[in-house]
């Protein structure tokens, strides 16, 4: 802990860590000093001049360095001018006065100056009701404007900075919070000021505009209504909104969110989600959210939602009662007991997955995780220790990211890893391509696809990199599925686990392995016993399949074929999908917004989410549907409530033993203090009152034996002349249903493309933009070629989720006739 110093603010004794700003120290002591430009997550700039206060310093004797005393008290010398609380640091004996006539007059002056250029259009402003300027105007503003309203500048009010964020130039108060957030926190300086003086204006000239996946955060920290999201602007007035705690379902980071909801006539008087806001969890997402997490909740709405169970009769799906539908499915599964398979994805909660797994186990079926990525057993052994907080990593620590493009796969991890590097952590990025993280890395290792394991083994040899990694105080490895399928990732996880164990980086906080999973709760699925299989097509062929939260038919023609030949298919889903279309039974499930449950994040933090809106139609939570179906099969499972299921789960799965919903609801004090009453300080981020979750102990920390399975050697794929190596890579905005349904993201999704190095394209005689046919492993697709210098030669890089079914590296052929 850093040294504490004592000072007084408005006569109150305050203790604060050395180096803290006076504004922050006041906040800590419960004294509000108004601020606009200052934000506790940004470097102080002292530019808005809102936080003017009187500061007195104890006089020191020049010779002795001791305080000069007067009547037994240190003599305090005040500066003639007001000073900014946001740029002055606390010192021993400092005396701060924030409410004297002089200070208040200074603050009033700043508000008045700001209002001379402000449109005062609060009644139609999205920020009205949660606007710091509005609040401070009430508190400090003059009753009547001394500024001649006719001389007010009139500026553009609806400028799209990109497709996602709008700027109102009249409302902007030039505090630069948004610019500084993008530069300092996100490391993407895509916002800037144009011109100067009174003409200073925010601009973004990137292509596309405001090219950052963190853009939504600027609307939270903008202290006025200058920045608004395309999604929410004119959506509702903040005071009409209710709030419910949730967890983002988009990636394994597990960002804490708040769903803002409102009853709406437009929605037939139903309560609907109006926006997703960040909820503070300094150990997970701090006060940030990526745009994918913020904007992709629309898939829980719409006509495509399933509302009634359906059963196929005479080749057609027809409505049925819950009883009839589950009974029908149960009979089929019982009839094909030997061939019973449960296929579920990490979109489901622990409670859902636990019931599914219990059913499979009791009924003698197989439980398969719908994923291209393995290795979750290893994160159970040497995953990051409880107490991990990437926000505390820095100088002396090391972070290795291998086979993952964090920016595209888990943006908030990207941001936090980048910031750890900013604080001095050694960042090593190992990837066959250049990724956005490389800019912040101390070392990059550009290996060839297929050399992942070798790259990790090389850490066993002497080199500057391996030395620095081994000697690091703390070390974390992120591994992902770039260019790898189930086998490759499992082997990579083993190799990483061995490295961590041997270098002593397992079993402690801020040490261990993190899987960059494709879905939010893949880690939970592993904990519960689900495993992916290397050949899903084979595993499904001729089986009786119970699918939950997955669309294999839509994703992959080979899987579609396998399911066509299946004995029976029951699908439990939110929305109509290609898989529900071929199913024999369709069971409508509730969305995460409609029910409660828990997820396990990639850092193995178990976190709760809550029901915010009413369920659609007759849909039920997945765990309850499974319990109904199980009952019909003669298996007794709990399905009454998520809590009950969780209690059983925590009794049966060892790692969860100590957990309960109550434990997950605990909150700790967090810094910075954010909340609804002082929006000028932290922004509109929600305070966390519903729980920060609990991290599971990895075996290495729990004291169990850690035995790491041997890495299976797979022969590297070697394309022959006229062949190339097709590899999968992940993409943030893909054609997945969760992204696609938020129409305004279309531009960011882009189209299906085959990326290759110019030399490869030349060898195959294709140019940039030319449509080609690519075929491998029974898959054949057409897509335009995009030249990309960062892709290794001889390789075709294909993004997952963009329409070409690629799970793992394969030898591919290019050519053949292309329909134009």
């Amino acid at each position: 802990m850093s040294k504490q110093v004592n000072l007084t603010i408005n006569g109150k004794q305050v203790t604060a860590p050395e180096g803290m700003t006076v504004a922050d120290a006041a906040k800590l002591a419960g004294i509000d000093i108004p601020v606009f430009c200052h934000h506790p997550k940004l470097e102080p700039v002292g530019m808005c001049r809102m936080c003017l206060v009187e500061i007195g310093r104890p006089m020191r004797d020049r010779n002795t360095g001791q305080f000069v005393m007067e009547n037994g008290q240190p003599k305090i010398q005040f500066m003639p001018k007001l000073e900014t609380a946001c740029t002055n640091r606390v010192e021993e004996g400092l005396v701060v006065l924030t409410t004297t006539e002089k200070a208040v007059d200074g603050q009033r002056g700043t508000v008045e100056f700001l209002l001379t250029s402000h449109p005062l259009d609060c009644p139609i402003c999205d920020k009205g009701g949660e606007c710091p300027l509005q609040n401070l105007t009430m508190a400090h503003g003059p009753g009547k404007s001394r500024f001649n309203y006719n001389e007010k500048q009139h500026l553009d009010k609806m400028i799209p900075l990109g497709e996602l964020i709008y700027l109102d130039r009249e409302r902007c108060i030039q505090c630069a919070r948004c610019i500084r957030f993008q530069d300092e926190v996100a490391g993407e300086a895509v916002l800037g000021f144009d011109d100067r003086g009174r003409y200073t204006q925010i601009i973004s000239v990137s292509d596309p505009g405001f090219d950052s996946v963190f853009s939504g955060n600027t609307t939270d920290i903008c202290p006025v209504g200058a920045l608004t999201t395309t999604d929410f602007r004119f959506g509702a007035r903040p005071w009409e909104l209710d709030a419910q705690a949730s967890i983002c379902t988009q990636c394994p980071v597990g960002c804490n969110t708040t769903l803002n909801i409102r009853r709406e006539a437009k929605a037939g008087g139903e309560v609907v989600v109006k926006r997703v806001m960040p909820r503070q969890n300094e150990e997970v997402n701090e006060i940030w959210l990526c745009d994918k997490g913020r904007f992709t909740y629309h898939y829980t709405e719409g006509k495509e939602r399933l509302t009634k169970p359906m059963v196929r009769r005479d080749g057609k799906l027809a409505r049925a009662s819950w009883d009839a539908a589950t009974k029908f499915a149960a009979e089929k599964f019982n009839a094909h007991k030997k061939d019973f398979v449960v296929l579920a994805s990490g979109r489901l909660s622990n409670e859902d997955l636990f019931n599914l797994k219990s059913l499979a186990d009791t009924a003698g079926g197989e439980a398969i995780l719908y994923s291209d990525m393995g290795g979750g057993e290893l994160t159970q052994l040497v995953g990051v220790g409880a107490g991990t907080n990437l926000g505390r990593m820095g100088k002396g620590d090391a972070i290795l990211v291998i086979a993952s493009d964090l920016y595209e796969e888990a943006p908030i991890w990207w941001l936090r890893v980048k910031q750890a590097a900013d604080r001095g952590a050694t960042l090593i990025v190992a990837n066959p391509r250049t990724t956005k993280l490389d800019r912040f890395a101390k070392y990059h290792i550009h290996y060839a696809y297929g050399d992942e394991i070798k790259t990790i083994h090389d850490f066993g040899k002497k080199s500057r990199i391996s030395d620095e990694f081994a000697k690091a105080k703390n070390a974390v490895i992120f591994y992902g599925s770039e260019g790898l399928g189930v086998n490759g990732t499992s082997a990579l996880a083993s190799a990483c686990a061995v490295l961590l164990k041997e270098s002593g980086h397992a079993g402690n906080a801020n040490n261990g392995l993190i899987g960059v999973w494709q879905r939010a709760n893949d880690q939970g699925a592993f904990e519960i016993g689900f495993r992916p299989v290397p050949n899903l097509e084979k595993a499904l062929k001729g089986k009786a399949v119970y699918i939950a939260g997955a669309d294999p038919v839509g994703d992959d023609p080979n899987l579609a074929k396998a399911l066509e030949s299946a004995k029976f298919v029951a699908v439990q889903e939110l929305r109509e999908t290609a898989t529900t279309e071929i199913a024999d039974v369709v069971l409508p499930a509730q969305a995460f917004t409609e029910r409660e449950g828990t997820f396990v994040s990639g850092e193995r933090r178990v976190q709760r989410y809550h029901a915010a809106v009413a369920p659609k139609g007759d849909s039920k939570p997945d765990y309850a549907i499974t319990a109904m179906l199980a009952k019909q099969m003669g298996v007794i499972l709990q399905g009454t409530s998520a809590t009950v299921v969780f209690d059983i789960l925590s009794n049966s799965v060892e790692a969860f033993n100590e957990l309960s919903y109550d434990a997950l609801a605990q909150v700790r004090e967090q810094w910075p203090i954010v909340g609804r009453s002082d929006m000028y300080y932290g922004g509109t981020t929600y305070e966390n009152t519903k729980g920060m979750g609990v991290q599971l102990l990895p075996m290495a920390q729990a004291g169990g034996t850690v035995r790491i399975p041997k890495v299976r050697k797979e022969a590297a794929l070697r394309p022959k002349e006229k062949e190339l190596l097709a590899v999968p890579a992940n993409k943030l905005y893909d054609l997945g249903v969760t992204v696609r349904t938020a129409g305004f993201l279309d531009g960011r999704i882009g189209e299906m493309m085959i990326s290759m190095h110019p030399s490869t394209a030349k060898k195959f005689g294709v140019e940039d933009g030319r449509k080609v046919k690519i075929s491998f492993d029974g898959v054949s697709a057409e897509a335009p070629v995009r030249l990309d210098e960062t892709v290794a030669s001889g390789v075709a890089l294909i993004r997952r989720g963009m329409g070409i079914a690629i799970h793992e590296p394969v030898i591919a052929k290019i050519g053949g006739r292309v329909k134009s």
Partner: protein, 415 residues
């Protein structure tokens, strides 16, 4: 009198290397590098009483001594931004006596252990920058810049850097931001450049004229210099005289010379022999001094000018005669400050915008008495609140104009 700074007025062609050398050029630099320790150089400058000529008048030697010796490398930057309306002295020095300036800069570098220096010129000094580049190249060729100077283990390089039209870049931290390739907006101080300057490294910034004083100080000693000028302000100053005088221009005078001497002896008095109404001793940033005989006889040094309710600043003396209306003057100065406000801090950005609306209205004759008091009030509301001194500067002429020349404003709003 022979000139110490504007030596070209005594020695023709001193901007040629050979002529400069023949007249003792680079002896001081050689003396410093070969016979003095760096801190001895700083001590001599400290003892000479030299104060910064960029406006603030901060003791130069003291600034050099502040350089943080625990953080390296160190930089020295010459402030050649010269953008204060009424100031044109640095330009003449660099054009006509460039080597003395560069030598002074080099000595400063030696004193603080810098091996790289930048000369930050306002963008308009485009031709001058090319000229200095050529002079720097000549120095390199002659062995006054480069590696192992005078056979000692000391190397130095000097580079020019052009601004691009922004008065604020004369403010030292805005200048550094600009030199770092950013928008020229001031930083919060402290930390000050001697501990956190260019690229976050300890940096000494001085005005061109300040550096130009250094070679003769090193050559002739601190006492020689201290004996020139007044007790408060040692040495000589180049006064940029402009406005309604017959003969505007730069005049190098010892501190303590009177306004009368400057304006009537050197500037040949006022056009058409009219009376002087006001003096702005520090350019557009200046307070307006109401002129009477006593004022004209006031010796010009930093302390004494302060007794007149103004700062000497960079000594750019703008003379206003009785034909000039003060409401017009402040409309001009506020036009300037509104144009040059960087926009970073609220009071300066908004205050200048507001003030300009008011001065324009008042000057156009559509303003009211209330507008005048509002203007005064807005100016005072800015004072002491801004991030850098520009905002403060903007209020000077307004406040002193309204308070010291109330008649002009009564006349302007009489409608």
């Amino acid at each position: 009198m022979t000139h110490i700074l504007l030596r070209h007025r005594d020695v023709p062609d001193i901007n040629k290397l050979s002529v400069y050398k023949k007249n003792g050029g680079f002896d001081a630099f050689k003396k410093a590098v070969t016979r003095m320790k760096p801190n001895e150089v700083t001590d001599v400058v400290k003892a000479s009483g030299l104060k910064g000529r960029g406006g603030a008048g901060f003791p130069t030697g003291m600034k050099w001594a502040f350089i943080d010796k625990n953080n390296w490398p160190h930089y020295v930057v010459a402030n050649a931004d010269e953008s204060e309306p009424g100031t044109f002295k640095d330009r003449e020095i660099m054009e006509s006596n460039p080597f003395q300036f560069l030598e002074g800069l080099a000595i400063a570098c030696y004193a603080v252990g810098a091996t790289v220096a930048y000369v930050y010129l306002r963008g308009e000094f485009w031709e001058l920058a090319a000229f200095l580049d050529q002079k720097i190249a000549e120095m390199e060729e002659a062995g006054y810049l480069g590696d192992n100077l005078f056979g000692k283990d000391y190397s130095l390089r000097i580079f020019t850097h052009l601004g691009a039209g922004a008065y604020i870049c004369g403010e030292e931290t805005a200048l550094l931001e600009s030199l770092e390739g950013k928008r020229g907006q001031p930083r919060v101080r402290p930390p000050f450049p001697p501990s956190f300057g260019l690229y976050g490294k300890p940096t000494i910034i001085n005005n061109v004229e300040t550096f130009t004083n250094v070679p003769p100080i090193i050559a002739n000693g601190a006492d020689w210099y201290k004996n020139i000028g007044t007790a408060d302000s040692a040495g000589v100053k180049v006064f940029s005289l402009s406005g309604r005088v017959r003969k505007p221009g730069n005049y190098e005078l010892p501190f303590g010379s009177t306004f009368r001497n400057l304006i009537y002896e050197h500037g040949m008095g006022i056009q058409e022999g009219r009376p002087i109404k006001a003096i702005m001793p520090a350019g557009a940033s200046s307070s307006l001094i109401v002129v009477d005989e006593k004022v004209l006889d006031t010796p010009m040094d930093y302390a004494t000018v302060r007794t007149l309710g103004a700062d000497l600043g960079s000594a750019s003396v703008i003379v206003l005669d009785d034909t000039v209306d003060i409401d017009w003057v402040i409309n001009k100065t506020i036009h300037f400050f509104k144009h040059e406000s960087c926009g970073k801090c609220t009071p300066c950005r908004e205050g200048n915008h507001w003030m300009r609306n008011l001065t324009e209205r008042i000057h156009q004759g559509t303003g009211s008495g209330e507008d005048v008091s509002l203007l005064l009030n807005v100016a005072k509301q800015m004072q002491g609140k801004c991030l850098c001194a520009l905002g403060e500067f903007a209020t000077m002429a307004v406040v002193t104009g309204i308070e010291r020349f109330p008649e002009d404003f009564k006349k302007a709003v009489k409608a």
